[in-house]
Symmetry: C3
Subunit: 166 residues, 3 copies
């Protein structure tokens, strides 16, 4: 039916200007999608999930509740992201002030780093993902993992730090 | 006083049809309780916490903020669940599409698996709990643990994966 | 400009009575700040973050989304707290009822324990922090860490449990 094709956005969700959301996608309560983010068709964006500026989510993805997707993250089609997953885009995040920066060790870089999650992959509940990070096609990051290195096609990784289980 | 006996529901909480909430229970801001869920009496359901369809929470439980309780979870009476705890009900969660499923390894099962948390147990902050999972009476799952095996009565487990500490 | 000096509070944020928020601070959507909490100037309090009763956040701090800051936590100036970080203030949290307490092991203490995060420190995404806990100046707690012991000035700790990496 035609009416099923439109995106369904919960009235408490906050969708900023310049966001693209495909048909058939459902956006749940108090989700916040920042300016420039793109969400494909037939996705579920679970409640309270955050999509940062310019984040990209492909078609038929399922993001569960409390997922934090920051700028620099690209999620391809058919990816499952379970509850409470946190993406990052900065190896050495910090609050900066002139006074503190004068005291701080100077060898810390600061830039927005990319993460790519390939088609069909799964990110388990409660996982935290490092930056400059690729999860290959159909790979799985186990629940609660802290994954800081790229994951091969079809691989399963788990643990803190995450290691390959096959 | 009689007026203390009614459940107190914050106006921003979303309570779907067919939910049962016992007297004396407090439900905080932007909590979402899905259809068919049951919450006992004198509980605290902390802010932004999610109770999935048909989830069960017994009397006098305290769930803190950002707790994700999915379908298949039964929490008995007097259980403490600290902030940011994530339950799961699927060993191999994934987003399914016909095209991707044709490419995907076929040995992955998909079903909703149960978790039981027995009376008096504590689940520490930030813990992630596997499915087909039982936490026994008065057991404690340490903060940040990733617990994938059942926990004995009175036991303390911690780590990723969680191991017994006594 | 003068109008930039006032704190900016999103209309969906809940700020209880007796809260102090400094000028230039931004409070995002559905943040909840409990009675007696103090937030300094030029901070960012990211969306859905919770500040418990009497929690203290210094000037120029950046707290990301889904951060849980409980009573007993003091965060000094210029601290970065990434998404999904959970503080705790109780070594043995539990839901208490007379019937259950009679059955429960009696050697568990219950009190609100303090945490201090010193100026310029960073707490990585998804980290969980124990109580009676000090993070020293410019120290960093790695993402996904479960940190239960104090961290030295300038140190980096990571893992579950968190260990020093230098």
């Amino acid at each position: 039916m035609m009416e099923d094709m439109a995106a369904r956005i919960h009235p408490t969700a906050i969708i900023e200007d310049g966001v693209t959301i495909g048909p058939g996608t459902a956006v749940w309560d108090t989700v916040h999608i920042r300016s420039g983010a793109k969400v494909g068709r037939d996705c579920i964006i679970g409640e309270k999930t955050y999509l940062g500026p310019d984040a990209i989510v492909g078609d038929r993805c399922k993001l569960n509740a409390f997922v934090y997707v920051c700028t620099g993250v690209t999620i391809e089609e058919g990816v499952m992201v379970a509850a409470n997953v946190t993406f990052t885009n900065d190896r050495f995040p910090r609050a900066t002030t002139p006074e503190l920066d004068a005291l701080r060790p100077s060898d810390l870089e600061e830039e927005t780093l990319p993460t790519l999650v390939r088609a069909g992959a799964t990110i388990g509940a409660g996982a935290t993902l490092g930056s400059v990070f690729v999860v290959r096609r159909f790979a799985m990051v186990g629940m609660g993992s802290v994954a800081t290195r790229s994951v091969r096609d079809f691989a399963l990784v788990a643990g803190n730090p995450a290691r390959s289980l096959g």
